[in-house]
Symmetry: C2
Subunit: 476 residues, 2 copies
């Protein structure tokens, strides 16, 4: 039975769902017009290593795998059922799952509470009852599903989600749409995720349940939330706080304005509620609040890569002055302090760099750009300054690779020596600096396509430093 338990029991209950040994795909289809077709395609595209059993009474084989007429006929225990049957069949399927002892279900089937359908609320309740009685954790209904890239598991209706790189960000979203905006961005930018979860209508898995689980999940280093409405705000905030003590949590709350708020209510059937109320509660409970999808992903990425700094004194270093100005602007906008360098650093920078360059914070490398060792020495000097807690680096592709070499080794070494937080704006035409970027990211220097996003990501790191400090001082 799924009920109120302590957080570790809740966390434990999700393990078979996210790391199943065996999976039944119920409602698979040979027709690309059916949801079940895409569920099967998704699953097959993910490279899942466990046992998989498609269920459809009309077929003996689909996509080259043996297909079973019913859940019951599968000669194996089932950890996870991915369900994409019509709404009218859902209760029978759930009863079958209960009988079979299925541990978790992803219910893609829609038409319960979310829209204007009559009786939606009753459907929702009945589904909850069956699942809770049988102790089945349900993600959904009315969800695109979920992917756990760490387990090569794509339990969704979109095969392309399997193209996302394995990584350590987990995204929990009240909107499948947001996950699908993140998908191409993550693929193009090479941003790695662990879990991407569409909560849907939250029959018995709400934000707080998932947050308890993610606290215990070793593959998750930072958590990104997209929130429209909250049914159980107290539980959510408490779970977020417990999670934020262990790992960083970033939230993007929609429904700031009146009509958007009303739409959010229709969308997932819960009151979206007052934006300011929720965002200030988030902040109070240790959750970092961001303003759009790109900031959500960028912040979560930085937080998955880097430790938080010990303070808010930042240095900005740029290949070209303009980016330094933008970066400095956004750092100050986010409450960071553009530090004054120590006398020692200042002297060293004056010795290292010619007068054409800007040698105070924000530092402009422009005229020595083509000397990667000198640029590296400047970066190292700044990182070692006792007045510097964190550094926003800004490089962009100019001239050619012959002229402008990235001081990759210096950046990595200086960060490792000092263990200070670094984010980097790094942008270039397709193909040009892929190897350099890959080396930087393997060494946990997160890169971002614009100076604004790199500065915002650094601000998220700084904020998490303060959150950790607050929790250390006041553990409750």
């Amino acid at each position: 039975m799924v009920a109120e338990h302590d957080s570790s029991t809740i966390a434990e209950s999700f393990k078979p769902l996210f790391y199943p040994g065996s999976v039944a795909l119920i409602g698979v289809s040979s027709s690309s017009k059916k949801m079940g077709y895409h569920v099967l395609q998704s699953f097959m595209s993910s490279g899942f290593k466990g046992r998989v059993y498609p269920v459809n009474p009309k077929h003996r084989e689909l996509a080259g795998i043996r297909t079973y007429p019913s859940l019951e006929s599968i000669p194996d225990k089932i950890d996870l059922a991915v369900i994409a049957v019509p709404q009218s069949a859902i209760f029978d399927v759930m009863e079958d799952c209960a009988k079979k002892g299925v541990k978790g279900a992803v219910v893609i089937t829609a038409g319960f509470r979310e829209a204007e359908i009559e009786g939606g609320e009753e459907f929702h309740k009945r589904l909850a009852e069956i699942a809770n009685q049988a102790g089945i954790r349900i993600i959904g209904p009315n969800t695109f599903g979920m992917v756990n890239l760490s387990a090569n598991l794509n339990a969704s209706f979109t095969p392309a989600l399997s193209m996302i790189k394995k990584g350590n960000i987990s995204l929990v979203s009240q909107s499948g749409g947001v996950c699908h905006v993140v998908m191409p961005y993550a693929i193009k930018e090479g941003i790695g995720f662990s879990k991407i979860i569409g909560l849907g209508n939250r029959v018995n898995t709400d934000f707080h349940d998932i947050l308890h689980y993610l606290a215990s999940d070793d593959e998750t280093k930072s958590v990104a939330l997209y929130v429209e409405g909250i049914d159980a705000p107290r539980k959510m905030m408490e779970a977020a706080k417990q999670l934020a003590k262990i790992k960083p949590v970033v939230a993007y709350k929609a429904g700031k304005f009146r009509k958007a708020d009303r739409a959010a209510k229709s969308h997932t059937g819960s009151l979206a509620g007052k934006y300011e109320l929720y965002t200030s509660a988030f902040r109070q409970y240790g959750v970092i609040v961001v303003e759009d999808v790109l900031e959500l992903v960028s912040s979560a990425k930085a937080l998955a890569f880097q430790p938080p700094p010990e303070g808010r004194r930042v240095a900005v270093i740029s290949l070209v002055a303009g980016l330094g100005i933008i970066s400095a602007d956004f750092c100050e906008k986010k409450g960071l302090i553009l530090t004054e360098f120590s006398e020692e650093t200042q002297k060293k920078l004056f010795d290292l760099m010619p007068p054409y360059t800007i040698r105070t914070n924000p530092v402009d490398l422009g005229y020595v750009a083509n000397d990667p060792d000198l640029c590296g020495e400047v970066i190292r000097t700044v990182l070692h300054d006792e007045n510097v807690d964190a550094v926003a680096l800004n490089y962009i592709y100019s001239w050619s690779e012959d002229f402008l070499e990235l001081p990759v080794k210096h950046i990595i070494e200086a960060q490792k020596e000092t263990r200070k937080s670094v984010t980097m704006c790094l942008n270039y035409p397709p193909g040009f600096w892929d190897e350099e970027r890959s080396t930087l990211e393997k060494n946990l220097i997160p890169t971002f396509p614009t100076p604004e996003l790199a500065a915002k990501a650094l601000a998220a790191l700084v904020e998490y430093g303060y959150i950790k400090e607050k929790f250390q001082k006041c553990p409750d």
Copy 2:
């Protein structure tokens, strides 16, 4: 002589610079460690159709072209000189240009006023004197250069700028860095530009001069500005106003915060000055103000593609509800009004769509997504509503192409029938919807990677509608 003239004379003076028949590249080099090497590479990569004359006394040939020992020795008149000589040689070169009757120069050479060098101010003045006396328009010095993609002209030190698609946005920037952040974004997103100009230290070409020129340039449909400091605010605002009467102008002003402002002063040698003062002046003079690089490019793109709407009543249509909520949020944040549909539209949407969907504004197509004709009919109905001035459409790749077909034809037709403004969030994994997107953009439906950017771009269109209306009522 370059002096104060009326705007059409100023505009005329730039034509040989942006559309030269013949170009001399002065200071080209065979060494990739020299700036002149990259200038030659840039030029050769751009596919320029005119006559080109590299100048270097040490070579007879470079990159397969005959090289001339001096400007004087070129047996042709020269419209444009691209200059990348050391700072010590610049005055001799400029005197040569004056003698040769060169019309315009891009001076990449740096080290004049921008930094901490002694005597920088005098160098700057002397350069201005020579150029003004000889009537030579100078872009720079201390600039990466400029590209005019409309003329296959890359007069910069970065060959990769030639990879940007030909289009109708022109970008005028006080920072080469910003142009180089825009470059990979434009290449990856396929955003077309006409001119991209790094003003550098503005010897005799300042913002106002270029704005007068762009007003007369048929290839430019919208103008994006990146501004740090303004030397001649009155002239700039007046030129911006004249330009904004003819075509839309969007500005991103940096230096909002104290330290960033100070850095801006060091960077281009002009007072960055009070952010609020300049941004409110911009607004007053009909310039749309934006908050970051991506919003700058997105707004300029929408404005180059679409006519401004007649009012601020918008409809949001989304494939999935979450994106609709975000879009609605950003529309409202930007002062747009989420319209109420007319009774007729409302009735028609209830007839067209099943109850699972959200049939009020923001409209959610989710459950009918796989019926492109029905989605198209919904889009058409909304666009034809008399209560709707503009539409934010939001599509993201989900399921697969077999299941989800974009209603490309319907969107294009409905926009053409109604001539209302449309922006579209359209995102997908690399390769999946390239053809659909290309068809949409060829038909002037601008697409954006996130719902936030699509909404902001729509807001820029709405704002330009009000600016035009204001100018019609009060022409001065």
